[in-house]
C-alpha cells in the first residue's frame, strides 16, 4: 500500500477528540453541550474549540438558544458530517485490510 494512502484519512476527523464528538453525534439526532462534555470527558474549552473547528468544516451545526434564562447549546451532525464520518471509517477499513494482507505476505 502506498505511503500516501496512509495519510488519506481525514485529519480533521482523525483527531481523537473530534472523532469522539462525531461518533456521539452519529448515534443521536441532537446532543447538548453538557452531554457532550460528560460523555467525552473533554474540558469546556477544548470541547468549544473542537466544536468550532467541526462547524467551520460544515460537519455539524451548533444552535444556541435561551431556555428560560439559561443558555442552551445544541449540536447536531450535518449531512456532510455523516458522509465524512462514513468515508473516514471506509478508509480506515481499507487500511486495516491492506495491513492484514501485507502481514500475511500477499
Amino acid at each position: 500500500m502506498p505511503f500516501h494512502s496512509l495519510l488519506q484519512p481525514d485529519k480533521l476527523i482523525h483527531e481523537p477528540a473530534r472523532l469522539a464528538i462525531l461518533t456521539v453525534l452519529s448515534s443521536c439526532a441532537t446532543a447538548d453541550f453538557l452531554f457532550l462534555q460528560r460523555v467525552t470527558g473533554l474540558t469546556k474549552g477544548n470541547l468549544s474549540v473542537q466544536l468550532s473547528k467541526l462547524e467551520e468544516a460544515n460537519l455539524l451545526t451548533i444552535t444556541k438558544q435561551f431556555v428560560g434564562k439559561k443558555p442552551s447549546t445544541t449540536v447536531s451532525l450535518t449531512e456532510r458530517g455523516c458522509q465524512a464520518l462514513a468515508d473516514y471509517w471506509r478508509t480506515m477499513d481499507q487500511i486495516r485490510k491492506h495491513a492484514k494482507l501485507a502481514r500475511n505476505g500477499k
Binding site: 477528540a17 469522539a20 452531554f35 460523555v39 470527558g41 474540558t43 477544548n46 445544541t74
Partner: protein
C-alpha cells in the same frame, strides 16, 4: 493526550443511544404510585374519603417528582434527542405490545396453569438485556426471576403481583441510574485543558 478523555467508541455509542433509557430514577415515582394504589384500595373499605384524598395526593406527588427527576437529569447529565427508530424496531415493539395484550386476555379468560403474563414480563426484561448487548445484565436477572414466577404468578394475587412488578422496575431503574453515573463520570473541576492539535 489528556487522561480524562474517554475514547472508547463503543461506550460512546451505547451511552448516547441509550441515555434516555438509562435515566432510571424517572420511573420511580410512577411505580411507587402503582404500589400505593392497592394499599389505598384496602383503606377505602373503611375510610373512603381519606383514601380518595390520599390517592389524589399520591398522584400529585408522583407527577411533580417525575418532573423534578426529569429536570435533574437534564441539569446534571445533559440532553440527547434520539435518532428516529428503524421501522423494523417499531414493528417489533408493536408485535410485542400485541403479544402483551394477548397474554393478559388469555390469562384473564382461561386462567392457564402457567401464567402467560409473567412469561411476557420475563421476555420483556430479556429483550431489554439482549438490546443492550449485555451491558444491562440486571435485566437478565429480572427475566430469570419472572421465569421462575411463571407457575406461581396467578396464586400470588393482584396486590403481590403489583408489588413484585414495581420492585422489579424500581430495582432495574436504580441499576440503570448507577450505570449512567458510571458511563458519565462527573467532570473534574481542576481539569487541565488538553492539548489541542
Amino acid at each position: 493526550m489528556g487522561t480524562n478523555i474517554q475514547f472508547d467508541l463503543q461506550r460512546l455509542i451505547f451511552t448516547t443511544s441509550n441515555s434516555g433509557f438509562l435515566r432510571g430514577l424517572i420511573c420511580l415515582p410512577t411505580w411507587l404510585f402503582f404500589i400505593t394504589c392497592p394499599l389505598l384500595g384496602h383503606l377505602s373499605m373503611r375510610h373512603s374519603k381519606l383514601a380518595g384524598f390520599g390517592l389524589l395526593v399520591a398522584f400529585a406527588v408522583a407527577v411533580v417528582s417525575t418532573k423534578q427527576l426529569h429536570d435533574f437529569y437534564n441539569r446534571h447529565y445533559g440532553k440527547v434527542t434520539a435518532s428516529e427508530g428503524s421501522p423494523l424496531i417499531i414493528i417489533g415493539i408493536g408485535v410485542w405490545a400485541i403479544a402483551a395484550f394477548g397474554c393478559f386476555v388469555i390469562d384473564g379468560k382461561y386462567h392457564p396453569q402457567f401464567s402467560l403474563a409473567a412469561f411476557w414480563f420475563a421476555s420483556f426484561f430479556w429483550g431489554i438485556f439482549m438490546h443492550s448487548a449485555g451491558h444491562r445484565w440486571y435485566y437478565l436477572v429480572a427475566s430469570i426471576c419472572f421465569v421462575l414466577l411463571v407457575p406461581y404468578w396467578r396464586e400470588l394475587g393482584e396486590t403481590w403481583q403489583r408489588v413484585i412488578l414495581a420492585v422489579a422496575f424500581i430495582a432495574t431503574g436504580v441499576m440503570d441510574h448507577l450505570l449512567l453515573t458510571r458511563l458519565l463520570p462527573p467532570i473534574a473541576k481542576d481539569q487541565v485543558l488538553s492539548a489541542i492539535p
